[in-house]
Amino acid sequence: MDETILAEKEAMLESIRSDVADFGKERRDLIPILQMIQERHAYLSPEAIKTVAEHLDIPTCEVFGVATFYNQFRFHPPGRHPIKVCLGTACHVRAGDIILENFERKLGIRDGETTSDKEFSIERVACVGCCALAPVALVGETVHGKMAPSKVEGLLLRIQIEKEKAERERREEEEK
């Protein structure tokens, strides 16, 4: 398992290195490069940031400073079940922040982060377009309206059970 992750990381870095080489080395190239990496790999890893810094010959921390200023860049890979909690006006009024807090506490991560088993990531978003159902959370592509703190655990549990079930079925399939 660890080896495949390592190999994936290495492959990603290799592809970033060759992609970055196509860009200029001026300061104005920094944001386009970061956008390109994020678009192709969904996040900016520490190694990716270092690669960019080396390409532009600027300190790593400067790349980090620029990247963290913008909301569009993420620094953790999205999980298999990305959770998006809406904090738009309607959801905010309906205490969406408490829903977010609940997800954070249950999963032990902060918004913008990913659990260590890569199953879940939490993100805050601004309006998903169904304010009448506020407060709203998205798990993957599924919208969960009229969320309540008590529903959070159930949601996570259901995903967990579904995952176990799928695994069991797969194992049975293999045994046959």
Binding site: P46, E47, I49, K50, I58, P59, T60, C61, E62, F64, G65, T68, F69
Partner: protein
């Protein structure tokens, strides 16, 4: 070099034309609270909002005013003091006031300015907004304390002056802004313990050498 005459708090003062007004005040023993200004800055970024003075009835940040002839300045009007107190209280509302255990105690610029402006260190009408991380120990030889930091940017300035580029930077945005070394830098590219410019310049001991 051309000398100009100006008046600060009814005192006649001669100064070099084009000097930052804040510098002229300080050189003439007229204290104006300030956190982010350093002598010799080409373009002070005026981010601490403490160095207000009044010129022709208007408050202006004195670090950004270039001295010219016949300027009439007051540094101690009620209007100016009110702005300074508010700015300081905002800074204190994101500051972990724990002077007893803080290495900056008694040489801290915040303490000094609070005393000068007669502001309590714990503003009662403002909510405290502290950052979750008390210590950032990602740097190999330095520690950073986000809840002490006043984000004056002096460390970044001196670092850039000394090394040609800054090895620390502002990261994130708004109320989440912190100074970051970004720990993934290679050790060979860092001066390590050789250069402690940022530690020495910090007015509130938010960057310290690892114990």
């Amino acid at each position: 070099m051309k000398l100009v005459n100006l008046s600060i708090n009814d005192k006649e003062i001669q100064a070099e034309e084009g000097m930052p007004l804040l510098q002229v005040c300080l050189d003439n023993d007229i204290y104006v609270p300030n956190l982010c200004y350093l002598e010799g800055m080409e373009e002070p970024h005026a981010s601490c909002r403490l160095c207000f003075v009044e010129i022709e009835g208007r408050p202006v940040a004195s670090c950004t005013v270039k001295v010219r002839d016949a300027l009439v300045v007051r540094t101690d009007t009620e209007q100016v003091r009110r702005l300074q107190r508010t700015a300081l209280q905002f800074l204190l509302s994101t500051h972990h006031v724990n002077c007893k255990e803080c290495p900056a105690n008694k040489k801290c610029e915040l303490q000094r300015i609070a005393k000068f402006l007669k502001v309590g260190l714990k503003p009662k009408h403002l909510e405290q907004h502290l950052k979750d991380i008390e210590t950032d120990d990602s740097h190999p030889v330095l520690n950073y304390y986000p809840n002490r930091c006043v984000l004056c940017g002096k460390c970044i300035y001196v670092c850039r002056k000394k090394h040609g580029h800054a090895l620390l930077t502002f990261a994130k945005r708004g109320i989440h802004t912190v100074i970051s070394f970004y720990g993934k830098e290679d050790m060979e590219r860092l001066p390590g313990k050789e250069c402690l410019a940022c530690v020495k310049i910090c007015p509130v001991s938010a960057i310290t050498l690892k114990a």
